[in-house]
C-alpha cells in the first residue's frame, strides 16, 4: 500500500493580462542600458557621462508611452516582446554612442567626409519614430485578420519595394549593394519593410493554397513531391530572389526572402519535401550566382579565407578586423568602452556592431544578446502556436521566422560562418529603416498575441443549463 492517493482537480486558469509583469521587466530593460551608458562613460573619460540623465529619461519615456499604449489597446499581449525590444534598442543606442566617442572614427570621418556628426542622436530620433510606428500599428490595426484582405496588394507592394533600388535615379548603389533608395534626402532600405509586407502576402496566399500544396502530391523515395503546377509559386519566388541577388548584389535580402517562404511553406503544409527542395534550390542558386557575379564572389572570397584575402584585396580587411575583434574579446570581454572595435572603421556601428558586443562583452555577452533575440523569436512562435486563426498563425510564424533568419544571416556573416551580407542586426545596429521596420514587426506580433491570449469567447452552453429529465414511474 502506497502513500495516500490524492484527488487532482484540473481547471483552466483565468486569463492574466500580465501587464504589470511587463512594466517591471520594462523598468529593468531601461535600467540596463543606463548602467551600460555609465560604464562606457566611466571607462572612457573616468567620469559620469553628461548626457546620462537625458538618455535614460528619453528611453524611459519611449518605453513608457509604448507600455501605456499596449496596456490600453492590447491588454492581453505577450509580456516579453516589448521589454526585449526596448532593451535591445537601448543597448544599440549605447553601443552607437560608445563608437561615436572613438577618436579614431571621428578622425576617419573628418578625413573621408570632411565633418563628423554623432550617430547616437539620430538613432535616438529613429527609435522615437520606431516607437511611433509601433503605437501606430497598435492603434490602426485593431485585428490582424484585416491584413488578409490585402494579400495580393501586399504581393505587388513587396515586389515594388524590393525592386525600387533598381530604378535609375532613385536607387543608389552604396559600396556594391543596391539596396538603398534616396527620397528627399533620406536614404531608405526598402527591403526591411518588404520583409513585413511579404509575410502578409505569404500567409494570405498559403492559407488558401495549403491544402492543394500539402495533399496533391506523389510519394517518391520517402518524399512527397508536389504536382508540377503547384511548383509555380516556389519557382517564382526563387527566381525573384535570384534576380535580387544578381541585380542588387544583396545576398542577405535574397536569402531572407526565399528562406521565409520556405519556412512558411513548411509550416503551412507540414511537408519536409519543401525544406529539402528549398535548401537545394537556394544552394544551387547561390553557387550559380557566386560563380559569375563579382560582388558576391568577393564576399565569398573574404569568407573562405579572410586573412589571405586581406593581403591582396583591400576590401577584405573589415572581415579580418571583425574576427580580430571577436578574438580579443575572449570569454568575458574587455569591458564596455575599453575595446578597439572602432578599428573596423567603416560600418562599425551598423553592419559590424555585433563585433563591438563580441569584443567588449566577450563570448558571454554575445551569447546573452543571441538569447535576447532567441527569446523574441520564441515568443513569436509561441504566439503562432496560440493563435486561433490560421492567418494569424502563419503571419506570426513568418514574421518570427524572418526575424530569426535575419539574426542568423547577420550574426553568421559577422562571425564568419557564412559569407557577409549587407543586413543589419535588428534594433542594435545604426539605421533608421531597420529600427522602424522592426518596431512595426514587434507591433504586429503584439497585436496577434493579444488576440491569441485574449480569453476565448464563451464555449457552447453548459449542460447545467439543460433541463434534468424526469423519471416517469
Amino acid at each position: 500500500m502506497s502513500v495516500v492517493t490524492n484527488t487532482t482537480t484540473i481547471g483552466a486558469i483565468e486569463a492574466p493580462s500580465r501587464r504589470n509583469t511587463e512594466l517591471a521587466l520594462l523598468a529593468f530593460a531601461v535600467v540596463i542600458p543606463v548602467f551600460a551608458y555609465l560604464n562606457v562613460g566611466l571607462a572612457i573619460d573616468g567620469k559620469v557621462p553628461a548626457g546620462m540623465a537625458g538618455y535614460g529619461l528619453g528611453l524611459a519615456l519611449l518605453a513608457g508611452v509604448a507600455h501605456l499604449v499596449v496596456r490600453k489597446w492590447a491588454p492581453y499581449s505577450d509580456p516579453l516582446l516589448l521589454p526585449l525590444a526596448t532593451l535591445l534598442n537601448g543597448m544599440g543606442l549605447v553601443l552607437i554612442w560608445r563608437l561615436d566617442q572613438s577618436p579614431r572614427l571621428i578622425a576617419k570621418s573628418i578625413n573621408d567626409f570632411g565633418s563628423f556628426s554623432p550617430d547616437a542622436p539620430k538613432q535616438m530620433m529613429y527609435s522615437a519614430i520606431g516607437i511611433a510606428m509601433f503605437v501606430g500599428v497598435l492603434l490602426l490595426l485593431k485585428d490582424h485578420r484585416v491584413l488578409q484582405r490585402y494579400t495580393y496588394i501586399s504581393m505587388v507592394t513587396a515586389l515594388v519595394l524590393l525592386l525600387l533600388p533598381l530604378v535609375p535615379g532613385l536607387g543608389s548603389p552604396v559600396f556594391g549593394a543596391k539596396i538603398w533608395i534616396n527620397i528627399a534626402g533620406f536614404s531608405i532600405q526598402p527591403g526591411e519593410f518588404a520583409k513585413i509586407v511579404l509575410a502578409v502576402f505569404f500567409s494570405g496566399y498559403l492559407m488558401v493554397k495549403r491544402d492543394a500544396l500539402a495533399l496533391a502530391s506523389r510519394r517518391f523515395m520517402g518524399l512527397y513531391l508536389p504536382r508540377g503546377r503547384d511548383l509555380g509559386p516556389i519557382l517564382t519566388i526563387w527566381a525573384v530572389s535570384l534576380l535580387i541577388l544578381i541585380f542588387e548584389n544583396d545576398l542577405g535580402t535574397s536569402l531572407l526572402f526565399f528562406g521565409m517562404f520556405v519556412i512558411m511553406l513548411y509550416v503551412a503544409t507540414e511537408r519536409t519535401s519543401w525544406i529539402v527542395m528549398g535548401l537545394g534550390m537556394s544552394v544551387a542558386g547561390a553557387v550559380g550566382v557566386a560563380s559569375f557575379a563579382s560582388h558576391v564572389q568577393a564576399r565569398v572570397d573574404a569568407w573562405a579565407d579572410p586573412f589571405a584575402c586581406a593581403k591582396s584585396v583591400n576590401a577584405c580587411d573589415q572581415m579580418t578586423q571583425v574576427l580580430m575583434s571577436f578574438g580579443s574579446g575572449g570569454i568575458l570581454g574587455t569591458g564596455l568602452g575599453q575595446g578597439n572595435s572602432d578599428l573596423i572603421g567603416f560600418a562599425a556601428n551598423s553592419d559590424f556592431i555585433f563585433a563591438t558586443v563580441g569584443e567588449e562583452l566577450g563570448l558571454t555577452g554575445v551569447m546573452v544578446f543571441l538569447l535576447f533575440y532567441g527569446l523574441i523569436v520564441e515568443r513569436g512562435i509561441r504566439t503562432a502556436l496560440a493563435a486561433r486563426d490560421p492567418f494569424g498563425k502563419l503571419l506570426a510564424m513568418g514574421l518570427s521566422g524572418a526575424f530569426a533568419l535575419q539574426i542568423f544571416v547577420v550574426a553568421g556573416g559577422v562571425m564568419g560562418l557564412i559569407p557577409l551580407t549587407g543586413m543589419t542586426m535588428p534594433f542594435l545596429a545604426y539605421g533608421g529603416s531597420s529600427v522602424i521596420a522592426n518596431w512595426a514587426l514587434v507591433g504586429i506580433l503584439i497585436r496577434i498575441s493579444d488576440t491569441a491570449r485574449r480569453p476565448a469567447p464563451a464555449p457552447a452552453p453548459s449542460p447545467d443549463a439543460e433541463m434534468t429529465q424526469v423519471v416517469r414511474p
Binding site: N6, A12, A43, L332, G335, T468
Partner: protein, 175 residues
C-alpha cells in the same frame, strides 16, 4: 577610474544581462498556457509519521482509513477509504475519501461531474460527520437519490458497500 572598479562593472554588467534573461525565462515559465493542476487532500509529510504508526499496528489497511480523515476526528475500524462508481458512464472512477465533502451532479464544479440526463446540477453530497461516519444527503434533486432501494429524505449514514443510485449512476464506498 581604477582598474578594479572597471573590472567589477564589466563583470557586474554581464551578470545583469544574464539576470534579465533568467527573469524573462521565469516569466515564460509562469506564463505557460493551459491548465493548472491543484493537489488536494493530505500531504505526504503528514502521512509519513502516520505510516510508521501503521506499521506498528496489526491491520494497516484499516489504519490507513484513520489517517485519511485528517482533522475529521477519530474513525472506527472498517471505515471506507474510497468512493467507487460501479455503474453509469463514469464506471471505474474512484475518489479517495480524505475527509473532504464530495459533491455529485452535472454542474462543472462538482467533485464528480455526472454526465447523466437524469441527474440534477447539484444532486447530492457525501461528507463525513464529526465521528468520521460518511453521510449522504440529497440536495433537492429532481429524481432523488436512492440508498439501496429507498429514496433518501434526510442525511443518512452510508454502510460499506451499499449502492447509492443517482439517475443511471451507482456509486458505493469501499475500503
Amino acid at each position: 577610474m581604477s582598474e578594479l572598479t572597471l573590472t567589477v562593472m564589466r563583470l557586474g554588467f554581464l551578470a545583469v544581462l544574464w539576470l534579465f534573461v533568467i527573469v524573462a525565462v521565469q516569466v515564460i515559465r509562469s506564463d505557460l498556457f493551459g491548465t493548472r493542476v491543484t493537489q488536494r487532500g493530505s500531504r505526504r509529510q503528514e502521512a509519513r509519521p502516520q505510516q510508521q504508526q501503521a506499521r506498528q499496528a496489526a491491520a494497516p489497511p484499516q489504519q490507513r482509513g484513520q489517517q485519511n480523515t485528517g482533522g475529521g476526528g477519530r474513525q472506527r475500524r472498517g471505515a471506507p477509504t474510497k468512493l467507487v462508481v460501479s455503474e453509469g458512464t463514469l464506471t471505474g472512477t474512484t475518489v479517495a475519501l480524505q475527509g473532504q465533502t464530495i459533491t455529485l451532479g452535472r454542474a462543472h464544479d462538482s467533485t464528480i461531474v455526472l454526465d447523466d440526463d437524469y441527474a440534477s446540477s447539484r444532486h447530492a453530497r457525501i461528507y463525513p460527520d464529526r465521528d468520521g461516519q460518511w453521510i449522504v444527503e440529497d440536495l433537492g434533486s429532481t429524481n432523488g437519490t436512492y440508498l439501496d432501494r429507498t429514496r433518501l429524505t434526510t442525511a443518512t449514514p452510508i454502510p460499506l458497500g451499499a449502492p447509492i443510485r443517482i439517475g443511471k449512476t451507482v456509486i458505493e464506498l469501499r475500503k
